[in-house]
Each structure stands twice: as structure tokens, then as C-alpha cells.
Subunit: 224 residues, 2 copies
DNA sequence: CGCTAAATGAAACTGGAGTCCCGTTATGGC
DNA sequence: GCCATAACGGGACTCCAGTTTCATTTAGCG
């Protein structure tokens, strides 16, 4: 009882504390990639990190708490963006980067586990959303440049375009299970570019003509 | 020891066995929607279903095994498809159906849990893939009709178009956390229709002109 | 340097998820 | 309707994930 002087690791974050965090997060990533979210055991993570299991339980408490911290760590590592001079080229570079990550044996399984963990806990979900917001913002400039070059209509939402590139690849990874090959990545980029050119991602649905007309009332059955 | 006369529930699938299965699957869906995949406890499912916990453990064994059976059951329930006469209208109807499902308090959480479970077990993943294959095939005809009407190029892959409608919605639900509103659903349908019209989903990448050119070699950094 | 307490770690402990045993129910075949 | 046995259910049991305790190490500060 009494107020537990905040979280452990906050008042003395240097030296050993930092080394422990690094080792544990690395071990957690390995374990998640190898065994998946469901079979993750914090004692096993502690063993891999060569750290007392008490420490892991005290600082992170739960599997989702540990994943949330791992995501926070991953979000801080920024990466270079490629520039090719055309929207399609840039989107294709992005698509192939995502494709390479998701098909990499370790990273692909890791991302599946991260997403699974995020479905079970709101704090973890927040960390995941922040991670993707960061990545999407990193690539958004290529769409703004395309707007500047006149490749796509003014008002095009950059985030929407970048999401449109990743979405089909994640859908295959997580839901449909369809082959996740480079052709799929290229098609995702091409489709996003084509839709962007056609004005499908213009913000604030144009008042007339361009966006929605079909006002059909549809069935009441629910499905995904 | 000895050969365990196959799975329980196979030689006498009628009467009580069927009632138990129905009650357990319903309870499992409720529990998954309420507590998520991580906190699912088979004893709790048994309690909700008013069934002995021994029965649940004997017939399904693990959480993922139960989810796999739930998915098998869900895949068998076919649903009506709406027809509006235009590709955009049909895709929008599909998008709104998916949107309504994923934003429904129970169904949305349930689908998140199902996908999380599928990341942890290959049999469950197979069941999930089969579920989506069924749904995608159910809606594929609207693309074939659009090809027939000349709305989209011949050779357009119907499955690819249908996936393109759902993908951005699932990406928001599971990864980015961006708002999952009806406008997003409509935009997903419009983008898929625009890309399809532009020939982005033509099968077997046309030998020249239409699909890939940018052969840029990109960075070696990995990311999603 | 040397002191204080934040943070770690080894080991004992505990509660509940999952297993096992065996008696009871009721399905499917005749 | 009757029998053999597939399937169910209550309850005891086990085992290990997660907690608690307390001694040891070391970061931070003067």
C-alpha cells in the first residue's frame, strides 16, 4: 500500500537500469518473434535477457506492458526515406520496404505479435498507433511533393495515400493469408497512386461530382 | 495411451453434442468480445455456456483450438450480397457492411480477438484464411459483372479488388488506429474502384506499359 | 570517495489454469 | 424399447506463471 514512488526505472534511468531495459526489450522481441504473443512468458524473457525475473515483473508487470514499452522503443528509431522523383516510385519503394519487413522471418512474426498484443490492451494499442503515426508521417512528404508537382490533385490527404500502400499488405499478413510477394507490394503502390491521381483521397469529400452518390440502403446483416 | 478413437464429438455429433457445441461457441464469442484474446479462460467459457469445463478442455483443448472451431462455424453462415448496378455502388455497399461490422461494439472486438488468435496458431490461421476466402468469393461477382459491363479492364482480378476495399478498414482497426468512420469506408470503396478502372488490378502484370517500371534499388533498412 | 536509497536478483510462496479419474447421462443402432 | 458406449460433468489433483520477501548491488549526488 502507500504510493509506490512512481514507476521503477524513472528516478535512476542510467547505467544498469538502461542496460537491463535494452537486454529485456531485445529478448522480448526475440521471444515474440519465435513463440508468438500467446506463448510469451516473462520468466522466459528474463532468462533470455540474463536478468532476474523479479525485475521483469516489477518493471513491466504484464506481457502487454512489455510490448507497449517495446513499441515505444521501436517508435524512437527513425529510418531514412527513399526519394525517386515520382509518386509511383516513392510509393513502390515504401511498399517494398513494408513487404520486406513483413516477409522477414523475424520481423514478420514480430509485427504479428505486436498487433495481437495491441488488440488486448489499450495502452499497448496507443503505443502501436503512435508507432504507425510516426512511420506514416515519415513518408507523407512524398505525397506532398507529388501534389506540388501536380501529379495528384490539391487537397489530397498524404496520410491516406501512405496508409493505402501498407493496408493491403497488412490485410494479407493478418487476415486473408493471400501470398505476400513483391508483386503484391508493387500492385499496392500502383493502386494507391492510381486512386490518388483520380482524386479518391482528396480531403473533405468534394461537395459535388467527385465523391459519393450511391445512396442505396443496404442489408442489415453484419459481417467482415 | 492407445489410439484415442479420434476427436470427441465426431461419432455422435447430434443431440446434446450439437447443443453443447452451439452453447460453447456462442459463449466463446461473447467472452472474446468482452475480454479479448489474452484474458480468455476456457473455464470461464464453460461457465458461461453452462457446460462442464472438462468438456471444453476435452473437445477444444486450447484457446486457439476453440477459436479455430468458432471460425469454422462463422464461415458456414453465408450472407446476402447487395447489388446496385454499378461497381462503385457495390463496393460501397461492401465497404459499409465491413465498416458496420468492425465498428459494432461486439463484432469489432470479436474480430480483433479472432485475428489475434490466428497470429498464434497455424490451424487457427488456416481457419481465418478460409473465412476470408469465403467472404471475398461471395463479393467477387460484382467485379466480374463490372468487367462484363466494361467498367474495368478485362483481366482485372476480382479478389484483389474486394481485398482492396476491406484492407484500409482493417488497417485502421488493427494497426494505425485512425478513425474508422463511414467516410473512411466510402473512400476505401472509391479508391478501389478508381484503381480498378485504371487497371491496377489486372492479373499477370501486363508484359509492357501498364504496370511496373521503377527499378530503383532501395535502402537496406527494415521497417513496417 | 562515501553515503543513501533505487534497482536488481535469488528463493520461497501461492493461486488458479489445465489435467485426471471415475461415475452419470443420453445418442445411435438394432 | 434396450443395449453398448460416446460424450458429459463434478471434483480432486498438479504444476507453473506470477507474487512476495529480503539480501545485494550500484546509480546518483555531495
Amino acid at each position: 500500500m502507500a504510493v509506490e514512488s512512481a514507476e521503477p526505472g524513472t528516478t535512476r534511468p542510467g547505467g544498469r537500469t538502461a542496460r537491463v531495459r535494452e537486454a529485456v526489450l531485445r529478448a522480448a522481441g526475440d521471444a515474440l518473434a519465435e513463440q508468438g504473443f500467446a506463448h510469451l512468458d516473462l520468466a522466459d524473457v528474463a532468462r533470455r535477457a540474463d536478468v532476474g525475473k523479479t525485475t521483469v515483473y516489477r518493471r513491466w508487470g504484464t506481457v502487454t506492458g512489455l510490448v507497449a514499452d517495446l513499441l515505444k522503443d521501436m517508435a524512437e528509431q527513425s529510418l531514412p526515406r527513399t526519394e525517386t522523383g515520382s509518386l509511383l516510385g516513392d510509393l513502390k519503394a515504401n511498399a517494398r520496404l513494408v513487404h520486406r519487413t513483413l516477409t522477414d522471418p523475424r520481423q514478420g512474426e514480430l509485427f504479428k505479435a505486436l498487433i495481437a498484443a495491441a488488440t488486448c490492451d489499450t495502452r499497448t494499442a496507443d503505443a502501436l498507433h503512435h508507432f504507425y503515426r510516426t512511420r506514416i508521417e515519415e513518408w507523407a512528404p512524398c505525397v506532398r511533393q507529388a501534389v506540388g508537382r501536380g501529379e495528384v490533385p490539391a487537397g489530397t490527404d498524404p496520410h491516406e495515400v501512405i496508409r493505402a500502400v501498407s493496408a493491403p499488405l497488412y490485410y494479407r499478413l493478418l487476415a486473408s493469408g493471400d501470398p505476400l510477394d513483391q508483386a503484391a507490394a508493387d500492385r499496392a503502390a500502383e493502386a494507391a497512386a492510381a486512386a490518388a491521381r483520380a482524386g479518391a483521397y482528396v480531403r473533405h469529400a468534394a461537395p459535388e461530382g467527385m465523391t459519393g452518390q450511391a445512396r442505396t440502403e443496404d442489408s442489415q446483416q453484419a459481417d467482415g
